[in-house]
Assembly symmetry: C2
Amino acid sequence: MAAPKRLTPKGAATRDRIVAGAAELLRRQSVVTTTLDDVLAHTRSSKSQLFHYFPDGKDQLLLAVAQYEADRVIDEQQPQLSNLGSWEAWQEWREVVVERYRSLGDNCPMGTLFLQVGRNSPGAQAIVRQLLTDWQRYLATGLEALQANGHLGPIDIDQASAALLAGIQGGVAIMLSTGQTTYLEAAIDQWLARLRQADAHA
Amino acid sequence: MAAPKRLTPKGAATRDRIVAGAAELLRRQSVVTTTLDDVLAHTRSSKSQLFHYFPDGKDQLLLAVAQYEADRVIDEQQPQLSNLGSWEAWQEWREVVVERYRSLGDNCPMGTLFLQVGRNSPGAQAIVRQLLTDWQRYLATGLEALQANGHLGPIDIDQASAALLAGIQGGVAIMLSTGQTTYLEAAIDQWLARLRQADAHA
């Protein structure tokens, strides 16, 4: 996605429509068997439109879909993820996260895409790293808000937010293998319990 | 893996040699491009030997390698994983886990294998579930040992062990994407800190 072409508003809308439509399609069927023709049919686009926006073809389109799905990971935690200034707010966010992943079931859109474009391709790695960085920043900002509101004493915010993010990723990974959200819930709940305990003893 | 043939000691040794050799090979090169001929050459086996033990071919062999790697996940945490009766013992185990994954770098043998056999195949799922169950049981047993030794008060052991396992899985997943073990370390360290804090306030 580095240095994308500057698009007109109409061009950007067309590109967005192709990406959103491809994402929708790829949530329903295997990335391996999905062809560019399927995407054209599903998004009612022409081959020349598609190659105008994605001259490198399928892998470039898949990376754009991965970026779109990465944006959704954050967006679908909003507005709760941006408003974590009380324990009640953290609890609400917790419900949103668990519900989001429960509804995805055994379909992890980003994971599936990365099977195809290669987890280790520079483009895929950049998207994952940015998502992790952004996500952790939101969590850290939430912890700072708790502190500012007097609900939490001094803690290592980097460590605490990193541990929570790891617990969420692992909880989701285990859900994808087992169909159970219990690990995801335990990871968040135990982490929250720890901070509230730290607060109570502050 | 269901209902394997009963093997003579010599047969079992031959099968083990093929599996261990295939695992070694698959840690060095892509599962996608590895052929059965590569495995035959690497393990100095004949085609008839290989199809005697793995009549269904490559996917069956890959599942056996996945089981072998799953066993290694536990084995390489021993003897520490079976001796978690003090906080010092937990700290030693923590070093072993972080070092194991650091040394694997961006190569996750089980993850790579599952790309090929399909994460959702019944055989692959059974291996992952059993590994998670066994791993969590070791962690829970360690927590019970802490309690028996008077180092830990009453806690929800199921929840605590599930949260730790999720943190480890997520920490490893993030390491595979970013090359950093910081999330894995934060997940374990924060979890340990929580329990020690609970102990201190018990």
